[in-house]
């Protein structure tokens, strides 16, 4: 789990050019940066729609499905990516099916199903882990990710998945947006909202499965939710916030990878911390802009009011 010491021989110099050159010294690091960029773009776009559709719980559940996927693949001797994709798709179908069967009490049942699916997935992962007879020293890396062993082949696979995902959004982005903003009106206009919802969940599952290879099952969620939520605080315009989400995601990933390269703690910690810090900063700035009086001392505010 823990990297024995920082990988870099010298610390960051705070000179961007030389830092960047040092960062790209090793081929594995170049792979990690490429994979991280692809993943950040994809997770940003998918996460933007996820936040818009208020499906963070489903997104989190799907992201955890990478854990049973990885352990099942380990048990069967398949590649981890295959396991990720199978389990994430299965979970997306389970959640999608439960929401489309007209539940009596709507949203609360939906969340109960999502929670159950999540626990069952993790329980399966634990079962596979205990059935696996071999020594598994670093099971945490399945959960928390590692950027050390990414091969050029994996980068190519990620690129293909990301392209497919972006094609999906290019094709159905407009009706999906319509359905996400106002489902009733969209349905009345003949938009197949239910098929779109299921399709979106499956794409979310695929994107999550790809992302989990870098960040691990437990931390995918940060890349999905944080850039989108931050961007939506900054601007309400659709295209601007979508592009901003992608940019923020890439920035967070690069910064996280660089920090993990120069300092000794795990990459997942840095990625989540950078993402969270950015969100808090933007939220505070937003609050200061929207309610400037809140920052003034109480006395001056009441004086201004009088």
């Amino acid at each position: 789990m823990r990297i024995a010491s920082a990988l870099a021989e010298v610390g960051p110099t705070l000179d961007p050019v030389s830092d960047l050159r040092q960062l790209t010294t090793y081929p594995f690091m170049v792979n990690a940066l490429e994979a991280g960029t692809i993943v950040a773009v994809m997770a940003g776009v998918v996460g933007w729609f996820m936040v818009l559709r208020r499906q963070t719980f489903a997104g989190h559940t799907l992201s955890l499905m990478a854990f049973p996927g990885a352990t099942a693949a380990l048990l069967l001797g398949l590649s981890a990516a295959a396991g990720y994709f199978v389990f994430c798709t299965l979970a997306a179908l389970a959640i999608g099916a439960s929401t489309s069967s007209r539940a009596r009490s709507g949203r609360s049942q939906e969340s109960a199903v999502t929670g159950t699916v999540q626990a069952v997935g993790i329980a399966c992962g634990l079962l596979f882990l205990s059935l696996y007879q071999g020594v598994l020293a670093n099971f945490e890396s399945l959960l928390f990710g590692s950027f050390l062993g990414i091969t050029a082949g994996q980068v190519l696979a990620l690129l293909i998945v990301a392209t497919l995902t972006l094609c999906f959004f290019a094709a159905v982005g407009r009706p999906l947006l319509f359905a996400s903003l106002d489902e009733g009106v969209a349905r009345a206009h003949g938009v197949p909202t239910r098929a779109l919802a299921l399709g979106f969940l499956i794409v979310l599952g695929l994107a999550v499965a790809a992302t989990a290879q870098i960040t691990g099952a437990l931390l995918v969620f940060a890349l999905l939710v944080a850039p989108a939520a931050t961007a939506r605080l900054i601007t309400a315009r659709i295209w601007a916030s979508l592009l901003l989400t992608v940019a923020l995601g890439v920035a967070i990933t690069w910064l996280g990878l660089a920090l993990a390269y120069f300092f000794e703690y795990p990459v997942g910690f840095y990625v989540t911390t950078v993402a969270f810090a950015l969100y808090v900063l933007v939220r505070a700035a937003r609050a200061a802009i929207d309610h400037p009086t809140m920052l003034r001392p109480r006395a001056s505010r009441s004086a201004a009011g009088a």
Partner: protein
């Protein structure tokens, strides 16, 4: 026989009280559509346990302090309107990242054993509880159950219709905070049994099943508790009989099976009541 083993009796004692607490708290989580908050609490439990270990404090103190504190924070930010789920999500994604940090920190301090502690916090170790652990878990579980039962009536009112409840003088906000604190304590408690990653199943599945089967909230509350206890009992027995089956997996497996059964029962019952769907109902076909 399995009851001859002390570890099994300990597991049964702790498991029963934990299950009862999870069943009752889970009922309200589902009713109030706060399952995602339960999800967040369960992940906070992991970080809290590891933070306590890294600081050299008893894990249980870390667990309860961490989950209850996070529950109160959730209650604090919960009053703002729109971005709730997203805020919860961002905060707990970061807390999880902190958990990784503590795991790394702890491993530098202790040399080995970090994987074991991490695994225990994530997946629980109900067969590893000592008699003292089990008794303490039982006492805390009974305390949670008693508190929930004491506030059940106003809490139900506040959950089903907060506006009317507030108008009638029910302290909706205080109840909500108290309930979240109880949910936090339950998460801390259940982490010992089924682990941080699995306790959501014990919160969501029995409660979801119970609410499918009964529209009466009190009946559903009782059913939810009963289902959770049943899941733990059957799960423990199954895992005792099949050594390669981890107890946490068995418990969650039974809980999920109960949910699936209730799902099938209610959908077939509905179909039997209303008969085959009429062919010409354009609204239904066109609506899809």
């Amino acid at each position: 026989m399995m009851f001859a083993h002390e570890f099994f009796r300990n597991a049964l004692l702790a498991g029963t009280s934990i299950a009862l607490a999870c069943g009752l708290v889970g009922h309200f989580l589902v009713l109030r559509a706060q399952v995602f908050a339960g999800d967040a609490l369960s992940h906070v439990a992991f970080t809290a346990a590891l933070a306590a270990a890294a600081a050299g404090v008893d894990t249980r103190i870390g667990l309860f302090a961490g989950t209850v504190a996070f529950a109160l924070i959730l209650g604090g930010i919960g009053e703002r309107a729109s971005a709730d789920d997203v805020t919860i999500g961002i905060v707990f994604a970061w807390i999880l990242g902190l958990g990784v940090f503590f795991l790394a920190l702890f491993s530098t301090g202790s040399g080995g054993g970090n994987g074991l502690l991490g695994a225990r916090a994530l997946f629980g170790s109900i067969f590893g509880l000592s008699a003292g652990d089990a008794r303490l878990a039982a006492v805390i579980g009974v305390g949670i159950v008693a508190t929930i039962l004491a506030i059940a009536r106003p809490l139900l009112f506040a959950s089903v219709d907060p506006a009317v409840a507030a108008a009638r003088g029910v302290p909706v906000r205080v109840l909500g905070l108290l309930f979240l604190a109880l949910a936090g304590a339950t998460a801390g408690e259940a982490t010992q049994a089924v682990g941080a990653l699995l306790l959501l199943g014990l919160l969501a599945a029995p409660a979801g099943a119970a609410q499918r089967l009964s529209a009466n909230p009190y009946v559903a509350l009782a059913l939810s508790g009963a289902f959770a206890v049943l899941a733990v009992w059957l799960g423990l027995v199954l895992s005792y009989l099949i050594p390669s089956l981890p107890p946490s997996t068995a418990v969650i497996g039974v809980a999920a099976a109960i949910y699936l059964l209730s799902f099938l029962l209610t959908t077939t019952a509905l179909r039997a009541r209303f008969g085959p769907r009429p062919r010409g109902s354009i609204g239904l076909i066109g609506g899809n």
